[in-house]
Amino acid sequence: MTVTQEPATAGPPLAELSARHARKRALRLLGALAVAAFVVQGLIVVDARPQDLVTGVTGMADIVARSLPPSFATFSDAMSAALETFDIALIGTLAALVLALPFSICAAENLTPARPVYVVARSVIAVCRVVPDLVWALLFVTAVGLGPFAGVLAVSVHSIGMLGRLFAERFEDMDMGPVHALTLTGARRTQVFSHAAVPTVLPSLVGIALYRLDENVRSSLVLGFVGAGGIGFQILTAIQLFDYPTVAMLLLVMFVLVMAVERVSAALRRRIL
């Protein structure tokens, strides 16, 4: 019987493969232990005491009992405040959309015109995103005073960060085939972007923007707590006056608004995608 000797370039020997496999297993084990250690330190730091939740449930039940039945005496005011909350989210999202698009193009590695532009765009997006919308609202209330305009500014700036990052990632993940194909036809950069990149990712961008609108409706409710207009401000006032039946009515109105926006946005996303 003849034995054919494997050429030297056939691949790494079995012993080396086995050692590599053992190293990978050891690394995986170390990773799992590190995650477990983080979870344990997290439970210690947050001072988790589930028993307190059990003993304190009567206090929560008391507030719920005092909220019922909801009071509809100020229902018309609540409706106009709910509309204001929705408007803060809508205008804030639209403004963010207009500004996030150019930032995201500059912040996408495959579309950015130059490396310094990429770094600046990524930094702006990071600052907008990392600072919470509540902090932006406090800053803008100081600048433009109490009211919905401060809310619009806060929602808008924070959304530039959120939309900018998601849009940039979508651009980076898109199929570059059509972009290369149009580039090779001699089309200009802007033409390639509008005729190849935009049609390719538009449904995703619209879906992300609708999801952001949905999130912003919830955010603008909380922004009212710091004086940035909308139904949040009414909820805060009613809580401070211990007027729990009015709080219950306001929460019901908010629940209907959030659910309506969520359903409509989900239906639109399904239709587009």
Partner: protein, 271 residues
């Protein structure tokens, strides 16, 4: 038709093409080495395509065929060498000059690379974007003149019946013909095709190769086509260049390429 007759005709076409003056695409001393690689992917490749000629590049996986095509259209920057298209060296150009010169060479990819959500006609009309400018075009509008020319190009590839269909609803063969129509709407002097039939069934592959053959013969385009199917190369090409380990192993009229030469291209390099 006998194989001998096919080869004789192919040899004649190659001779005629060679008598038509300057080549439309001239690759000279093209080399490409990727960062960190032990050796060059392309090593001193020289190849020319004359108007009206269909040149097929054959070679095993990883021999550098697609890299050569990508360097030729400057999707990749070559390490050294030149690619002359209609008298200009693409490798030395940049910016608007490169863009203008690229219009002379249309490229066809394995998967067509059509914009999925646009109609076949809109995709074809996009081939003419290099000729038009203005804010409306930059915003995504396609001029009527380009759409009309797009219909003519679809008619040239016998695909007017799919004009209104979205690109993602086309079959592989239909998409490739629409991609060829987009290439034609550039009004190019040369076509570069990177494995245009690799993902098609035999019938669609033959139909696409017949179309490329016809574009060279009837429209006078110079066609440089990377293929994996020697039988298609022998049947449709005027000239066949064999690429082995990044070097041109042979460059001969199709009628003179023997089975042994082709077999040698696909032999295991370690053997």
């Amino acid at each position: 038709m006998s194989t001998g007759a096919t080869r004789a005709r192919s040899h004649d076409r190659a001779s005629n093409a060679a008598q038509r003056g300057d080549p439309v695409v001239e690759i000279r001393g093209l080399s490409k080495r990727f960062d960190g690689a032990s050796g060059p992917v392309l090593d001193d490749v020289t190849l020319s395509v004359w108007p009206g000629e269909l040149v097929v590049v054959l070679g095993a996986n990883g021999c550098g065929k697609s890299t050569m095509l990508r360097c030729a259209v400057r999707l990749l920057d070559p390490t050294s060498g030149s690619v002359t298209v209609a008298g200009s060296d693409l490798a030395a150009l940049s910016g608007n000059e490169l863009r203008e010169r690229r219009r002379q060479v249309a490229t066809i990819f394995q998967h067509g690379h059509l914009v999925a959500r646009r109609s076949a006609l809109a995709n074809v009309a996009c081939g003419g974007l290099g000729r038009v400018r203005g804010a409306r075009v930059a915003a995504g509008h396609l001029p009527v003149a380009e759409l009309q020319h797009g219909m003519e190009c679809l008619a040239r590839v016998r695909m007017t019946h799919v004009a209104a269909r979205r690109a993602d609803s086309l079959s592989g063969g239909e998409a490739q013909r629409v991609a060829i129509a987009r290439a034609l709407s550039q009004r190019p002097q040369a076509l570069m095709a990177d494995e245009p039939v690799a993902s098609l069934d035999p019938e669609a592959a033959q139909s696409v190769m017949e179309l490329l053959r016809d574009l060279a013969t009837s429209d006078g385009l110079g066609v440089l086509c990377v293929l994996h199917q020697p039988e298609l190369a022998l049947r449709f090409a005027d000239r066949i260049a064999g690429l082995h380990a990044g070097r041109i192993a042979f460059d001969l009229p199709a009628g003179l390429v023997g089975a042994e030469a082709i077999r040698a291209l696909y032999q295991d390099e370690r053997g």
